[in-house]
């Protein structure tokens, strides 16, 4: 009996020693269906909005403002999830008005009033790939039905 108790005690010590390896808190947030859907919807909305950038910005201002609101929600949603700093950083890059993804594109559209089709096409391809990086990370998280 004493031998058995010592043995179990040793196992507990071993488990405690393994805590740094097996620690309870995950390194990254699990998959969220809501975050995934939000990213896919925003990708579609953003690319559709950008297609209109050959026309004057003022004509599409309400649509742009709606898109910016949705993106702010996505950042706040990402920020509110534990262990989700990488996805949050991705959204911050995507919507940064001084950057060169969706946020920066909308800033440039507003400044120049309209943009050339060649630029819209090339920028859209970049931004689409950027959204794919966000969606790819979410769908790669534990719990997604890959």
């Amino acid at each position: 009996m004493i031998h058995r108790c010592t043995y179990i005690g040793s196992l507990v010590v071993l488990i405690l020693a393994l805590v740094p390896v097996t620690g309870c808190s995950p390194a990254i947030a699990p998959f969220s269906g809501c975050a995934y859907e939000l990213a896919v919807d925003l990708k579609v909305d953003a690319l559709r909005t950008m297609e209109r950038a050959e026309e004057p910005f003022s004509k599409h201002e309400p649509r742009v403002e709606s898109l910016q609101r949705q993106m702010k929600k996505a950042v706040e949603f990402a920020r509110g999830r534990p262990n989700n700093s990488i996805t949050t950083r991705q959204w911050e890059i995507m919507m940064n008005p001084e950057g060169h993804m969706v946020g920066g594109f909308l800033t440039r559209w507003k400044q120049d009033d309209s943009l050339s089709w060649g630029f819209i096409r090339e920028a859209s391809a970049q931004i689409e790939a950027g959204f794919d990086a966000i969606i790819g990370l979410e769908s790669g998280k534990i719990g997604s039905k890959k």
């Binding site: 390896v21 990254i28 060169h100 920066g104 050339s116 630029f119």
Partner: protein, 107 residues
């Protein structure tokens, strides 16, 4: 401490690492490599479009900077997927240790 028990745990960790590390490189390296390759040809395309007047210098400048942002997003995806693999590794080890502990206590 029972040495076979420790050996089994270490063996399981080695086995999990052998499975995790190749999967990690399979998931991470091709994406980064293809983006870098694409970037070189993309720059040539933009230079040609600028020469033909389809893009302005300001357009090309913006697009090059957007390429850098895209690399940052892609690198963050890789970092996140690496963390997913670490979590999977930790889960596998936890399952093994708990399974062995329960088995030994029940025996």
């Amino acid at each position: 401490m029972s040495e076979p028990f420790v050996d089994i745990i270490l063996q399981e960790m080695r086995h999990q690492l052998e499975e995790t590390l190749p999967r990690l490189s399979d998931r991470l390296l091709p994406a980064g490599k293809s983006l870098l390759k694409d970037s070189a040809s993309q720059l040539e395309t933009w230079a040609a479009q600028a020469a033909s007047g389809e893009l302005s210098r300001a357009d090309v400048d913006w697009l090059v900077r957007s390429r850098l942002d895209l690399h940052r997003l892609s690198a963050l995806r890789s970092a996140g997927l690496a963390q997913v693999e670490i979590d999977l590794f930790r889960q596998a080890i936890t399952r093994t240790v708990i399974g062995m502990l329960v088995g030994r206590i029940a025996a």
